[in-house]
């Protein structure tokens, strides 16, 4: 019995974090925020295997599971790394596996391209966050029409598109009738787009709504893991800053108010670790708990992240409010994760439905 990470997972985690710390430090994040691309980062990460974490070994990948992916997502969140990890490395291979297509061409080959970083796959799931206004996608024959206000990855060659009827489609970014425009958000560590489809030719991946539902659950776990990493980073930065910053002739870390703010953050974050691990584990091994645990992880991390983002910024005082130490990149990434694919209120409404309350 072991509730926790395996030695391999711990090693993977350490390896990736070393790379992120060395090669994609905050300066690289800033450059991305100011307009640079993330392809170079992504190539470096793919060389380490991140692109292939979920790709079957037959296609050259690592053939690992969602828990491994969650470990990586947490590390990426910890370093607020710009990377198309969620779409290209998680949801794309997951979709193919779930749809039974991963050994079938052209998908088998495309998995190979994705794991090398050559092919980027974005994500457009309008059902995920609650359809607002005219958001939604309908199929007519092999063509899609509709709008997705917030889709992930502005540089993808293709997108996974969820239709209103629960089917999952593949749409090339160069397809006629496909347009995307920047959807600028408060989070500048990842770039989103608004997608408009006008009788746009597309390829059906699965008509089974369970496949789309699975993708949503996996996305929830990944966003939760990302927030977990970002939250832990903010707490560590707050503790470190409080140890250095002196006011009234003593480090502010010696003030009980500051200590208790940090303790409260730790107390909220720590149980989330176990929750995220377990939710990730369930996606591959306990299907009957997969959707609910994913929802719990997404909802709880949404709230805990918001609390930590605010509190850690407060511990940093004025410095936390500036751009100088870049703490706001974490704040905003957590804010993005909270809303993306359903905020806590929405996810909890789903949780109640899922459990037949």
């Amino acid at each position: 019995m072991k509730f926790g990470l395996s030695e391999d997972q711990t090693l993977l985690d350490a390896t990736v974090r070393r790379l992120l710390a060395d090669q994609i430090p905050l300066d690289a994040v800033r450059r991305y925020a100011e307009g640079d691309g993330d392809q170079e980062n992504w190539n470096a990460l793919c060389e380490l295997g991140l692109g292939g974490v979920l790709v079957p070994e037959s296609a050259g990948g690592l053939g690992l599971g969602i828990l491994d992916a969650a470990v990586l997502a947490e590390a990426l969140g910890y370093y607020v790394t710009p990377a198309p990890f969620l779409g290209s490395a998680v949801l794309f291979p997951r979709a193919l596996t779930q749809a039974g297509l991963s050994e079938v061409e052209p998908w088998h080959g495309r998995l190979g391209e994705a794991l090398s970083g050559t092919l980027r796959v974005g994500v457009a799931l309008p059902q995920a966050g609650g359809q607002r206004g005219r958001d939604g996608v309908q199929a007519a024959g092999q063509a899609l029409s509709g709008t997705v206000t917030l889709a992930l990855d502005d540089a993808a060659q293709a997108y996974l598109v969820g239709a209103d009827d629960g089917a999952l489609w593949w749409v090339g970014a160069d397809a006629p009738g496909f347009t995307r425009e920047a959807f600028e958000t408060v989070d500048r560590t990842r770039r989103s787009v608004k997608i408009t489809l006008s009788e746009c030719p597309a390829t059906l991946l699965s008509q089974n709504p369970a496949v789309l539902a699975d993708l949503r659950a996996v996305a929830w776990v990944m966003l939760a893991a990302d927030t977990l990493g970002a939250s832990r980073a903010m707490l560590e930065k707050a503790v470190a800053y409080a140890g250095e910053r002196e006011q009234f002739n003593r480090p502010i870390a010696t003030f009980q108010a500051v200590k208790h703010m940090c303790a409260e953050m730790a107390a909220e974050i720590e149980p989330c670790t176990a929750l995220v691990w377990y939710a990730a584990h369930c996606q591959d091994h306990l299907p009957q708990e997969a959707a609910t645990t994913a929802g719990h992880a997404k909802a709880l991390l949404g709230d805990v992240g918001q609390f930590v983002a605010k509190t850690a910024t407060e511990v940093h005082g004025g410095m936390g409010f500036t751009d100088l130490v870049g703490l706001h990149y974490w704040f905003k990434r957590i804010g993005f994760n909270r809303q993306c694919f359903g905020n806590p209120q929405r996810v909890r409404a789903e949780l109640a439905e899922l459990q037949g309350w």
Binding site: A242, A263, E264, P271, H281, A349, A352
Partner: protein, 394 residues
């Protein structure tokens, strides 16, 4: 991530279930501490190794090697079968491990066997009116007079004092020493002359605790555990054990299920409470936290088992567990609305009035066993490595 206990342990679980099937009917159901039924059941449990499992045979135990999973399986199986897991109490949970660690051979043979059999009931004399969070400020004095200590002072929060045969008690024997170094750990009978026990009614209206007053209580000097002045160390060999169990996540999960059931049954204006989106949201939010705490507990178990460390997972569990439970109980009162106010002899009480009782009781647990403020100090210092408060000027 490997959530199975493995075949050897599953076999052990079957063994426990077999025992429960065969003997479960013998277990007491509400019979008290000193009832023949409870004592017989305790002997039965020890005989099969389901109580005093790791206590050496020499001291009346079963003599098994400590095995965290076996203990967990026993606890789970007994809870699932709703069968009494035998006697608990501070004698068994705190004094016996302490004696095993630092007691003399004579103390072990004298005290452990009757204690684990439930024939000798103990209470704990630690807290005092002036020594709560700052336990080491305790002032109950013990002065040597011939072969005896003479004990004077007062203890509080002594939960089984009115039932106990003996007390294990922290007293100040070296008044001149620094405060942590002047304390000793004594054992003496509650029948000793000079002891007065007064029930301490708490906010739930029940006397769950007592105050204990000592006036010239004579205790033979050999009834000290450890050396004179080392009582603080002796008490701390096991003090940590107590905190984790306050706000037990498995009990909270059981309680959550009762709350869910309540919301399915209660109606407001003709609608089930569970159908109200506001209450659904609050319930789901609680569920996330209950689940996270239960998983955190599995992580703690796993870490113990595999010799891995995640200090924060342990350090936060009392704080979060008690606050969560208090909030859960308060939410149930909101669910019940005016009906949730029913208390005491009111026949309208739902679930025996337990929501109100637990709402208050868990506020008591937020305070007891190290207040939330002390917990946060500990989390920040031991968990996050933040500095202690600077020394004050004299």
């Amino acid at each position: 991530m490997d959530l199975s206990y493995g075949p050897r342990y599953e076999a052990f679980r079957e063994e426990v279930r077999g025992f429960l099937a065969q003997y479960g009917h013998e277990a007491p159901r509400g019979e008290g501490l000193r009832s023949e039924k409870a004592l017989a059941w305790q002997r039965r449990l020890i005989e099969h190794g389901y109580a005093a499992r790791t206590i050496p045979k020499a001291y009346g135990g079963y003599g098994a090697q400590p095995d965290i999973l076996e203990s967990r399986i026993i606890a789970e199986a007994f809870a699932a079968a709703r069968v009494s897991p035998g006697l608990g109490g501070q004698g068994i949970s705190m004094l016996v491990p302490t004696l095993l660690e630092v007691g003399t051979e004579e103390q072990k043979t004298t005290f452990i066997p009757p204690t684990i059999r439930g024939e000798m009931i103990w209470c704990q004399g630690y807290s005092e009116p002036g020594a709560g969070s700052d336990l080491a400020a305790l002032r109950t004095s013990a002065v040597v007079d011939g072969d005896d200590f003479v004990v004077n002072g007062q203890k509080i929060w002594t939960s089984t004092a009115h039932l106990a045969d003996w007390i294990f008690c922290l007293v100040r024997t070296e008044p001149e020493a620094p405060k942590h170094q002047g304390i000793s750990f004594l054992l003496f009978p509650m029948t000793s002359p000079g002891i007065e026990v007064r029930p301490l009614v708490d906010m739930t209206g029940v006397a769950n605790f007592n105050e204990v007053f000592f006036t010239d209580v004579r205790v033979p000097t050999r009834q000290i555990v450890g050396q004179r002045g080392e009582g603080w160390k002796v008490a701390n060999t096991i003090l940590g054990h107590e905190r984790g169990s306050l706000g037990d996540p498995n009990a909270t999960m059981t309680r959550f299920n009762a709350l869910l059931e309540l919301m399915r049954q209660e109606t407001i204006d003709g609608h089930r409470v569970i159908d109200n989106p506001l209450f659904r949201d609050r319930l789901a939010a609680l569920q996330s936290r209950v689940l996270a705490m239960r998983l955190n507990d599995m992580r703690i178990l796993s870490n113990k088992l595999n010799g891995e460390a995640a200090p924060l997972a342990n350090l936060i569990s009392k704080l979060q567990g008690t606050e969560l439970r208090h909030e859960l109980e308060g939410f149930a009162i909101d669910v019940l609305g005016e009906l949730g106010l029913a208390y005491g002899a009111n026949p309208a009480k739902q679930d025996g009035g337990s929501w109100q009782t637990s709402y208050m009781y868990f506020l008591g647990l937020i305070i007891g066993g190290g207040t939330s403020q002390i917990q946060k100090n500990i989390i920040s210092e031991r968990g996050l490595g933040m500095p202690r408060e600077p020394k004050l000027a004299k």
